[in-house]
Symmetry: C2
Subunit: 181 residues, 2 copies
């Protein structure tokens, strides 16, 4: 997930997540990516490229099989993010030991690190069967930057979930549902 | 939606929604039921039958076309619920004037008030095409009570979203996605 808004340090209030560059959006996406009724999706890794003030870019990485002591509510997920961002992550992956990592890297560098074919969500893309083992890329509520689109159109395939435009967290749920089969 | 846990007065902290009988679950369901990327689902009405302490049952009703001054984050949705519950709703629908209503009524009474064929989610139900203009009923993270199942099996049809058990909020997203077509 790419967001041009999300605040890139830990200096935000857990009582005002929307004011931290829509940190609430990110937390709902994490919920959708990992939680099921009775367990977590251990096979999922979820990245969030964040470009808000004051220290962009920072990329968060949530690793399903390592997640610990995290609850599915926005406030709890945000508290983990806040704590890790407060350690001022640098150019190597830094972790909180509970499944969350952070690093100073942008989308182009990240896509160089991740293996797998790239599929990116775009309302003008084709509607087609989704498959496992792809890297799914999506924007936030403000969409991609022009530079993102240039990069993604070179590296990946554009797909759409239909004519309705869903929240990012809902897109994740729908993709998971389609992959669950 | 039916939840046997949710707290039925406004005496809870917005900083501890999971402790208010999983009020976070309800708020995520409201988010999933109404929000899209660029607007709200005006054609949706969402009921939550709540049976937690201290004043069960209370049913909340969110009316899409009347929703005002509500943000999609859990804390904001919870603040609307808390304010209305604090007015101690009685046996007629009481409203905050912003699209949220509450009344002292349980599932059996409610199903008598709502028109439309009833479909209820159950992991043992059939997987089939969902259709518009139905009343969809679902449990929370703890499922239905025995009395609910008895009532629902008399009045409605049991359907399943497949072998994966999703969060209630994810079930709502998936149903909406299937109905959007």
């Amino acid at each position: 997930m790419v967001t041009n808004l999300a605040q890139t340090d830990g200096d935000f209030s857990l009582n005002g997540l929307p004011n931290a560059g829509r940190m609430d959006v990110i937390c709902r996406c994490v919920n959708s990516a990992f939680w099921l009724s009775d367990n977590l999706r251990n096979d999922t890794v979820f990245y969030i490229v964040m470009r808000g003030a004051p220290n962009p870019p920072i990329t968060l990485k949530f690793v399903g099989e390592e997640l610990k002591r995290m609850s599915p509510d926005e406030r709890n997920i945000a508290s983990h993010i806040k704590n890790l961002l407060s350690t001022k992550p640098g150019k190597i992956w830094q972790t909180d030991g509970m499944g969350l990592y952070a690093k100073k890297i942008d989308l182009d560098g990240l896509l160089g690190e991740i293996k797998g074919e790239i599929i990116y969500l775009d309302k003008n893309g084709k509607i087609e069967e989704l498959k496992e083992d792809f890297v799914y890329v999506m924007g936030d509520n403000k969409g991609y930057s022009e530079k993102d689109i240039e990069l993604l159109s070179k590296k990946g395939k554009k797909v759409s979930l239909g004519k309705t435009e869903y929240l990012s967290s809902q897109c994740i749920t729908i993709i998971n549902y389609k992959l669950d089969g």
